[in-house]
Structures are given as C-alpha cells and as structure tokens.
C-alpha cells in the first residue's frame, strides 16, 4: 500500500504538454528521486501534485483522492512542498518563516518541540532567528525552506531542486540533512537535475524525459545503468 499513488498525471500550460500521463508510487518512509534533464516536466509534476496548476489524472494520498483539491487543502493533509527557488518569505524573520510553516497546526506545545527539533537540525537558523530571511545566504535560505516545511509535520515532503545555485560544500550539507530527515521517517520525493547526488541518497528513482517516465528502478542499479551513466553522469 503506497502513501502516494499517482496515475496518468497530465499537466499542460496552454497547448504545451509538460507532463504526459505519468505514474508514481511512493511507499511510507521511502526516499524516492525524480531525475531528468532541464524541461523534462519534473517541477510541473510537483506543481500538479500540489494543485498549483490545473492537471488531469488521479492523485491518491494516504487513501484519499486529492485530484482537484486546492493547494492549501493538500498542504493541510500532510504534503509539504519546498518550491523551486525556495520561496522563503524574504521580509519576515527566520523565526516568523518557521512559524508560518506550522500555520495550519493548532497544537502549540508540539510546535515548540518541532521548533527545537529544526533548530537542532539547522543550528544556523537558531543563530539567525531574528534576521530577515531575505538577507540569508542561498544555502541558509534552502535550509530555512526545508526547516519551514518540516514545521508542518508533513508525511510527504516534496523537494524541488534543493541543490540549485548552491556551492558544492553547501550542497553536501543540504543532502546530509535530507538523509537525516528521511531516516527520521519522513517520506520524501526529491526532484533533481543533479542525478549523481540524487541517486546516491535515494532508494528508488524515476527518470523523466520530455514529460514521460523513461526508466524507473532501484537507485543503486540505475546508477550503474549504462544509459543513465551516458546521459546524466557524463561517463
């Protein structure tokens, strides 16, 4: 029984088909990545799942049908999106950003526990709690975006290109954290262009090309696949 089951998802902008009917299955506790070149429709897939763009097909999350639901309802059901470009609230402080992550929760005691938890995960954010989020470095902003998503206690975390525009050292730090979060039991769907990294930390992978899934399987096996090596790993 999968936590997220997607059947025949299609996303189109005007006449242009960005996602051409894909199937995805993610089980509870898995870290799954969706890799593929620029413009393959990876981000559009996430936008479709979150109800941010019009889409066709079936999206089932934890047994409930999400098709046609508004974004805020989907978020309240336990799916958190860390959008491409991070989408932090630049003119709010770090602490206020984190508080916004728990916007739809009312369990104040548990929110405080989670705040302490994300501060433990990202000590830098605690140091900068009163600083405006827009003044953080790119890597810190990415940490904040992930921490903010975790403040909603999501059951499924959608990460859209967390390595984008970051220095290699920072990318490694972010990926270590993603692994930690996954080990704590949060189910993750990771969208990446950086196939090398994504395949190394994930258990399973989908490869997307021109709006369709071209390959899927266990990440270690895909990392050895000659087609993948040729197309994405530059070997």
């Amino acid at each position: 029984m999968s936590l997220l089951a997607v059947r025949g998802l299609r996303v189109a902008y005007g006449g242009i088909q960005a996602v051409r009917g894909i199937d995805l299955d993610i089980a509870q506790g898995e870290l799954v990545c969706l890799i593929g070149p620029n413009g393959a429709g990876k981000s559009s897939t996430l936008r479709g799942l979150m109800g941010l763009v019009g889409h066709e097909g079936q999206v089932h999350f934890d047994g409930a049908c999400l098709t046609g639901r508004a974004t805020h309802e989907i978020a309240t059901r336990g799916i958190a999106l860390v959008p491409e470009g991070r989408g932090i609230f630049g003119r709010l402080t770090v602490a206020e950003n984190l508080a916004m992550g728990a916007y739809s929760r009312r369990d104040h005691a548990a929110i405080r526990v989670d705040m302490a938890h994300v501060h433990a995960l990202f000590p830098r954010l605690e140091e900068r709690r009163d600083q405006l989020a827009g003044t953080l470095s790119g890597g810190e902003q990415q940490m904040l975006a992930i921490a903010r998503a975790l403040m909603g206690r999501p059951r499924l975390l959608l990460l859209d290109e967390p390595s984008m525009g970051l220095a290699p050292l920072m990318v490694r730090r972010i990926y270590e954290t993603v692994t930690t979060v996954a080990r704590e039991g949060v189910t993750i769907l990771l969208v990446e262009q950086n196939a090398h990294l994504a395949l190394r930390i994930s258990q399973r992978a989908y490869v997307m090309e021109s709006g369709s899934i071209s390959l899927s399987g266990n990440s270690p096996e895909l990392a050895m696949d000659t087609r993948i090596r040729a197309a994405y790993l530059g070997e």
Partner: protein, 372 residues
C-alpha cells in the same frame, strides 16, 4: 519605538505620556480653533477622515501587498449609502448608528465583488483593474439619475442629515460647560473616536493569524498556499476589511459635509490616499497616520503662500494651487531619494534596506529594536 531626545522622562512613565497625549487630543480643536480659526478645525476633521482611509488602504496594500488604485470607490459607496438613507432624496431619515454599519457592510461586499475577479492578478495588472473599478463606481454615480434617479447624477445629493446622537444634533451646536462647541468640534471628537478604534483594530489584525497570512501572501503566493493558507479567502478578506474602513469614512464624510457628488471621488483621491501610506511608511499604522496628517495639512498650509507673496512682492507671482502640486511632487521625490521606506518605516522595511550595509550592522539594529 525609537526614543525621542528630550522626552526620556515620558518613556519612564507611560501613564503620564498617555495622559498628556489624551489631554492634547481633547484640547486640540480648541487650541487650533482659537489660534488659527474654525477653518483649521475643519482641516483637522479631514485629517481624521483621511487617517481612517489610510489605515484601511494600508491593510490591502501594506499588509497583504495587493496594490489597489481604486480605493476611493469604497469611500464613495459609504458616502452614498449614508446619503440615500438620511436625506430628502428618498425621504428616508434613518439614525446614524443604523446607517454606518449598513454602509460599511455594503462597501465590504463591494470589496469582495472587486476581489473575486482579480484573485489571480498581481502587481501591475491588479493596479489597472482596481483603477478601472474606482472609475466605474464614480461614472455610475455620475450617470445613475436615469431611468431611475438613484444618485442624482453630477448634481449630487444635498441636505444630508447631520449626525444625531442621543438627541444631540451636530448641526445645532450646544453650549457645554460654558464653552461653544461648533459642529466642526463635535465632528472632530466623533472622527477621533472612530480613528482610535480603527488604529486598535488595524494593529490587532496585523498581529493576528490572518495578519500573518497576509504577510506570507505578500511575500510569496506559492509558498503561502503550500503552508496551508487559503489564498482566495485571505485575499478577499483583505479587500473586504480595507473596504469597510473606507465605507465608514465615506459615511462620516457624507454626514459631515451634508452634500456629496461624484466629483469628490476622483482617481486623484485614490492616489492621494496611496501617497499617504507610501510617504508615511508602508505596512505600519503610525506611518499611515503621519502620511495622512502631512498630506492633508501641507496643501492647506501652502495656501498662505499666496498671501505671503502679496505682502512681500506686492502681487501673486505663482498661484498657490500650482505651487502646492509642485511642492507635493518635490516632497514625494525627495522622500523616495532620502527615505525610500517612508518617514516612519516599519521595522522590517528598515532592516530590509539596511541589509546591504552588512549583516553585523543589521543585527545591531535588531538588538536596538528589541530593547526599545
């Protein structure tokens, strides 16, 4: 709050500061009336009306980041509702405390009506549609004298009932404790009460759950929705809340003036209220109040420039009205150059601009803020 030099003793005694402020606000019409004449008390009344509007527009533009260039339409709706229900136009003379909530509700409904079609618009597109909305309302008011005479067209509605509270008509000034209380004084106290209420409501809203949702919406819509914020309701609520403030101000304006016509609700008025919050500092109530006071008082004060020219130069070289617009422009441009976040910028705005000077500088500023 930043400390004002020389007023440190007030920071130590908030009770005393509050009492002094209250005494000043109560005595203000008498001070201004005896010093500058009754026409300046009338200016004070308008300052308070514009403060109400600036607080309302600040909710839409400052809190939620939705640029509204047709805000005066809600002022117009509040004013016309008052005129319809308390004038010989329809022969209705309902009491003030019945009409004002009706006018506010009516304006709020129009806020939702404006908000619904523009839910997906932002920035420039939103500004253009709201600008059109403001003009549509004004043109309707100008033309709805046929086939059914709803607004009496460009002639406007006259003989609107003055406010009457507990048998006291604001048009027939009573003597109170041996003091004359002309209508402008009575309206001052009434408007002051509404403005204080509006300040309280606006400040509570900013710190509330919906206030935080507005801030998130202003910063990033996609992320706000992903946090579980209902974008549609949050936006409509901002439009409706802003409109309610405008509607109340409009109703008070109609009762105060006794006469309204579409001329009072031109695009210029919308822009003026927007200038007030930009000048004062977007997103904060004190800034909206300061902006409203400055932009209402300054043009009136500049009228004296005509007299000054006549005494000094023997003739009027530059028409004061022309000069007013010129100085108005100079003031706004120099403000944009020297204080781009407004005269009283909000804590966050100030720090956002300070960020370029480096993080250390900014952290000192935040320490400063938390201590004061």
């Amino acid at each position: 709050m930043r400390r004002l030099p020389g007023l440190d003793f007030l920071h130590a005694r908030p009770g005393l500061a509050f009492a002094l402020l209250a005494a000043l606000l109560i005595a203000l019409p008498f001070l201004v009336g005896s010093g500058l004449g009754n026409s300046w008390v009338r200016v004070l009344d308008f300052v308070l009306l514009y403060m109400l509007m600036a607080i309302g527009l600040n909710i839409v533009v400052g809190y939620a980041g939705l640029l509204d260039l047709g805000y005066i339409a809600f002022y117009a709706l509040g004013a016309y509702v008052y005129a319809w229900l308390a004038s010989p136009h329809f022969g209705l003379h309902l009491p003030f405390w019945v009409i004002l909530p009706l006018g506010a509700t009516f304006a709020g409904l129009f806020g939702v009506l404006l908000g619904t079609p523009v839910l997906r618009l932002r920035g420039d597109y939103l500004a253009i549609v709201t600008l059109g909305f403001g003009e549509i309302i004004r043109i309707f008011m100008n033309n709805l004298n046929a086939p059914f005479n709803l607004t009496n067209g460009p002639q406007g509605i006259n003989l609107i009932d003055p406010v009457r509270i507990a048998g006291l008509s604001f048009a027939e000034p009573p003597r109170f404790l041996g003091l004359d209380l002309p209508p402008t004084y009575l309206y001052y106290y009434l408007f002051l009460a509404f403005t204080l209420l509006a300040i309280g409501v606006a400040m509570r809203l900013q710190d509330s759950r919906v206030g935080r949702a507005w801030a998130a919406l202003r910063e990033d819509e996609v992320a706000a929705a992903a946090m579980g914020i209902n974008l549609r309701n949050t936006k409509l609520l901002a439009f409706a809340m802003g409109a309610v403030f405008g509607g109340v101000a409009g109703g008070l304006f109609a009762a105060f003036q006794g006469f309204i016509s579409p001329e009072s609700f031109s695009l210029w008025e919308s822009i003026l209220v927007l200038c007030m919050i930009v000048l004062g500092g977007m997103g904060n109530v004190a800034g909206a109040l300061l902006g409203a006071a400055l932009l209402t008082i300054l043009p009136e004060a500049l009228r004296y420039l005509g007299d000054l020219q006549r005494t000094v130069l023997g003739q009027v070289v530059v028409e004061p009205t022309d000069l007013r617009m010129l100085l108005f422009g100079v003031a706004l441009v120099s403000m944009m150059l020297f204080r781009p976040t407004g005269l009283l910028s909000s804590r966050q705005h100030r720090r956002e601009w300070a960020a370029e000077d480096g993080v250390a500088e900014q952290e000192r500023a935040s320490l400063y803020d938390s201590r004061a």
